[in-house]
Subunit: 394 residues, 2 copies
């Protein structure tokens, strides 16, 4: 259900104590007008985030939070999305409306972002406050995998306390007792979820669009199938799309009729980016074994992850053009490795190329292609820099 109205009037359309989850992404008090054009430039979406004063902003928010509180069931929760500009005001308002003791989590949505360097740190997170209406709230624990540094062997061993109260592993004879497989680590409050890619199909051109994956996680934590989800500032309707995909009922409101139209349209044809990054996580792109990574570090090169022919680029401030490096794999012949590197370089104008080989007998150089081969046993930053980096061609 979608209503074009101020959410202050939500009670005209919703029963009190009927909603299981409120997710809202209100204006952030940026004091700016936000605009963005859609894909074919035919429409411009805007919203206004300018206020007379902090106080008027605070009142505006607090009044609407009160309505949210009223429509929520006792077992319900609210997730409030904010950026750093006014997060403290928003949390204050939540404390007042929901009560300090119903604060559950400060969720950090962390993402990687491309941006020009400014003075200072690159802002790459937003905050989601999670409050429950009462102490008895719906919550479905999720688990994440153990850290790679964890000693899993040991985690599976049963423990007891000895007489002095120290913990020890229970053993029969010399062998420890194994216990049932564990589920993993409870989900942390720092969520690394990629930002909606500028080219993602999921994008509809509305400002501040959130990835569906983020909303899916929120819905999975606090609702079941059939539950009612309410988004009082629904905008382009990401929350509602996520709800629809996950078989929750949904109700959205927005002051902009264009937003409502857009959301309506999205709900009829929900598109979710099938992104490998979103599904498998950033690390799935890491295809280098640690050996290779260490080798690259040794010769002072940047690692490159998504290229079969190039493993890294040599770092050197004085050179204008980077030099691609490939490290021969044990399952590759020297000639195969050579071909892969050349193929990968075909479409660019690298002037020199470097192959590190474990089977080449000595340093060699094919001057026609400016192709250097260095045996891995000799490879060092010093040798490389004296051979390749000195004769700079710009």
């Amino acid at each position: 259900m979608l209503i074009h109205d101020d959410c202050l009037n939500a009670l005209k359309h919703l029963q009190p104590s009927s909603v299981d989850l409120v997710y809202l992404d209100p204006p952030f008090f940026t004091q700016k007008k936000h605009k963005q054009r859609n894909r074919d430039n035919s429409e411009e979406y805007t919203f206004d985030d300018c206020w007379e004063s902090v106080d008027s902003y605070r009142h505006y928010i607090e009044d609407r939070l009160k309505v949210c509180h009223e429509v929520l069931r006792d077992s319900g929760s609210i997730f409030l999305h904010c950026d750093r500009t006014a997060s403290h005001y928003l949390r204050f308002a939540l404390d007042r409306v929901f009560g300090t003791s119903h604060f559950q989590s400060e969720i950090i949505w962390s993402f990687r972002r491309w941006s020009n360097a400014k003075k200072g740190l690159l802002n790459s997170h937003q905050v989601i406050f999670f409050y429950s209406k009462t102490d008895q709230f719906k919550f479905f624990q999720m688990y994440q995998s153990y850290s790679p540094a964890t000693n899993l062997d040991q985690i599976f061993q049963e423990r007891v306390r000895d007489k002095r109260g120290k913990s020890a592993y229970r053993k029969i004879g010399s062998k420890p007792i194994l216990i049932d497989t564990k589920k993993g680590v409870p989900l942390s409050d720092v969520w690394d979820i990629p930002y909606l890619n500028p080219k993602a199909k999921e994008r509809v051109g509305y400002p501040t669009q959130k990835p569906i994956a983020l909303l899916e996680r929120v819905l999975a934590l606090a609702t079941q199938e059939g539950d009612l989800v309410f988004d009082p500032f629904c905008g382009n309707g990401t929350t509602l799309v996520a709800a629809k995909l996950m078989k929750r009922r949904y109700f959205g409101m927005d002051l902009s009729s264009k937003a409502i139209q857009l959301a309506q349209h999205r709900l009829e044809n929900p598109v979710k980016t099938h992104s490998e990054l979103l599904q498998k996580g950033r690390d799935s792109f890491r295809n280098q074994s640690t050996d290779i990574a260490e080798f690259l570090q040794q010769i002072n090169a940047y690692p490159v992850q998504r290229n079969k022919g190039i493993d890294g680029f040599l770092k050197d401030g004085e050179r204008i053009k980077p030099i691609p490096v490939k490290i021969q794999r044990h399952e590759e012949s020297l000639d195969e490795a050579r071909k892969k590197l050349l193929r990968a370089c075909k479409s660019s104008d690298f002037d020199k190329k470097l192959l590190i080989s474990f089977e080449a007998p000595s340093l060699s150089c094919d001057l026609k292609h400016n192709f250097y081969v260095i045996p891995s046993v000799l490879a060092s930053y010093e040798l490389i820099s004296s051979t390749l980096l000195k004769g700079t061609s710009s």
Copy 2:
């Protein structure tokens, strides 16, 4: 320099406008008494974090922030460490004393933690607010490496704007032009720095001890050699130790004489954990190639990272004991793989073991050792679960 006194009196010891960086880690308004014993149980360190009301806490902090503001140079900055309990109050205080426009960053210190599960998300971050005294503040940009998902090839291509103002890659003929090597991505405001390990030598037994690595990053961002660093709640003196190691001058105050003694002692013998984790990052423990990881996922097994003989454990809720799995590598013979798995299992009472082999001709089972070998071409969750997981022994 270390002074045993309330930092409200800092001006007795410090000139106004003399300090380059203030880092503080004040009480968090947890309304609890915090204690911890040191390594050999000879000393107990405590501090009190109980307050009459939020207001008294707020005043306490605000008064001390005013002193910090006064001792700071115009080019100086303040980093205020807080947890989620009262971060909004602290930020209000900073806004009032330093001015909203001097807010620079909300830094998220994120870590992995071990704690028993509760209803809700596992709290695993703390917040550091970064404010500058003026707009002209010292800041030394740091860079981190590109995300593995980044297409580095493309980053190195020069870009220009076309007539319509859209950016495009500059090409000569069909080949893109390569530009100078880049420095990396500007440091983000989400910092993943491991929590101080329970067994770390760096630990001195004082509650809430922060890792030196965290402080080093703060100091590197906002100070140079010789600069003066002030910690008004220095506790065990981590900030000062970091300052000393980085050749900054330092000044610490604390209300507890035990803390001052401890800090003094630490400064005389600064110990910093030489941690592989801190140096190389968590991913250095990941020694599995993506192929192996995908294979494990396919057969529904937990990956194990730190073991030459065991690559994973089969997941199954109904079984009592986990079953270790090894996947034969191409550079290993079947017999080597077999031996490695058996050796790794020696000290535990696993009842079944599974080896996935690319050279075994067919499924085989050594009943004496309960050792199963499955050819990799046949390996699937269905086969494995019907062969190994059904006949449960508890």
